[in-house]
C-alpha cells in the first residue's frame, strides 16, 4: 500500500468525524426533523453533551434548531440544513473511497477516486 492512498485523508470533514457529532448527523440525515428527546434516546449522550454538540453543529451551519412549545411543554426540534446534508454526503463518499483504497491496495489513488 502506498502513501498516495492516504494522501487526502486530511480532507475528511473533521467537524463531522467526531463520534458524537457523527451520531447526531447520521440520525438527522434519515429524518426531516427530530426533537432533543429522540436524539438523546438514540445516541445515548447526556443532555449536556448533546446540547453542546448541537450548538457546535448549529454554529457550523450544519444543523438548524427550532425552539417551540407543544402545549406547555418546551420542544427543541433539530434538522439538518442543506449544507449539513451535503457535508454528510461528501464525508460518507470520501470515507468510502478511503475504505476502498484500504481494501484494494493495488489500485492507484486516481482509480480509487473514480471508483
Amino acid at each position: 500500500m502506498t502513501d498516495a492512498h492516504y494522501y487526502h485523508i486530511d480532507t475528511l470533514d473533521r467537524f463531522i468525524h467526531e463520534p458524537a457529532r457523527l451520531m447526531i448527523v447520521a440520525l438527522l440525515y434519515s429524518v426531516e426533523r427530530a426533537d432533543f428527546l429522540y436524539l438523546q434516546r438514540e445516541t445515548g449522550l447526556t443532555k449536556g453533551n448533546l446540547s453542546a454538540q448541537l450548538s457546535k453543529l448549529e454554529q457550523a451551519g450544519y444543523v438548524q434548531i427550532e425552539k417551540t412549545f407543544r402545549g406547555k411543554m418546551p420542544l427543541t426540534v433539530c434538522s439538518l440544513t442543506v449544507e449539513g446534508r451535503r457535508a454528510f454526503e461528501q464525508y460518507r463518499a470520501r470515507l468510502q473511497q478511503l475504505m476502498t483504497a484500504a481494501q484494494h491496495p493495488d489500485l492507484s489513488a486516481g482509480q480509487v477516486a473514480c471508483s
Binding site: 447520521a26 429522540y38 438514540e42
Partner: protein, 205 residues
C-alpha cells in the same frame, strides 16, 4: 464505545417500537378478510372483482393509514420518547407503490388462475401464509425485533393448518384474518408494555 447508529434503521425501528403500526395493520387485515368473506359469500360481487379490490384497498389505505397513525403517535408516543418527522416520500416512491399495487392486482387476476391449473389450490393458503411470514421475518431481521420471528412462525402454522382443513378461498381468508388477529394482539401487548415503560422512565426522571 457507542457505535454510530444506522439512521435509517433507527427511524424504521422507532416507527415500529410502540406496536401501533402492528395494531393498525392487524386491524386492516382483519377488516379486509371480513369484508372479502362478506362480499364473496353475500354474492354481491364476482370473484375477480373481489380479488381486484385487494390492491385498491391497499392503495387507498396505506397513505391514509400512515397519516392517521402519525396523528395518533403525536399524542401517545412522541411526548414520552421523542418527536420525529419522517422523511417525506417523493413522487417516485408514490409511483413505485402504485405500480406494485397494480402488479399485485394483475398477478391475482391473471397469474393466479393459471397457476391454479398446475398447482393444487389447497396450497394457496400456505403460499399466502409464506408471503406474510417472509414479510414478518424481514421485519425481524432488518429491524432487530424478535417478536416478528414469532409472528412469522405463527403465519406458517396457520397457513399449514388452513391448507389442510378447508377449501382454498376460505383458507386464504382465514390466514389473512388470523394473521390480523395475531398482529392486533402483538401490537396491543407491545403498546401496553411500551406505555408502562415510558411512564416509569418519566417518573424516574
Amino acid at each position: 464505545m457507542q457505535p454510530v447508529p444506522d439512521g435509517r434503521r433507527c427511524t424504521r425501528r422507532y416507527w415500529m417500537i410502540d406496536g401501533l403500526p402492528e395494531l393498525f395493520m392487524g386491524g386492516a387485515l382483519l377488516s379486509i378478510s371480513i369484508i372479502l368473506f362478506a362480499l364473496r359469500f353475500g354474492g354481491a360481487l364476482s370473484f375477480d372483482t373481489v380479488l381486484a379490490l385487494i390492491p385498491v384497498l391497499l392503495l387507498i389505505g396505506m397513505p391514509f393509514g400512515r397519516h392517521v397513525l402519525d396523528a395518533i403517535k403525536s399524542r401517545t408516543t412522541y411526548p414520552y420518547t421523542g418527536y420525529v418527522e419522517y422523511a417525506r416520500s417523493g413522487w417516485s416512491q408514490y409511483l413505485a407503490s402504485i405500480l406494485i399495487g397494480f402488479i399485485i392486482g394483475w398477478m391475482l387476476i391473471e397469474v393466479l388462475p393459471r397457476i391454479s391449473l398446475s398447482v393444487s389450490p389447497q396450497v394457496f393458503p400456505l403460499i399466502t401464509a409464506a408471503i406474510f411470514a417472509l414479510v414478518m421475518f424481514c421485519n425481524g431481521y432488518f429491524l432487530g425485533m424478535q417478536r416478528f420471528y414469532a409472528l412469522a412462525l405463527f403465519c406458517l402454522l396457520v397457513g399449514g393448518g388452513a391448507s389442510l382443513a378447508t377449501d382454498w378461498y376460505t383458507g386464504c381468508l382465514t390466514v389473512i384474518g388470523l394473521t390480523g388477529v395475531w398482529l392486533v394482539v402483538s401490537g396491543g401487548v407491545t403498546f401496553w408494555r411500551y406505555r408502562r415503560m415510558s411512564h416509569h422512565q418519566e417518573y424516574a426522571e
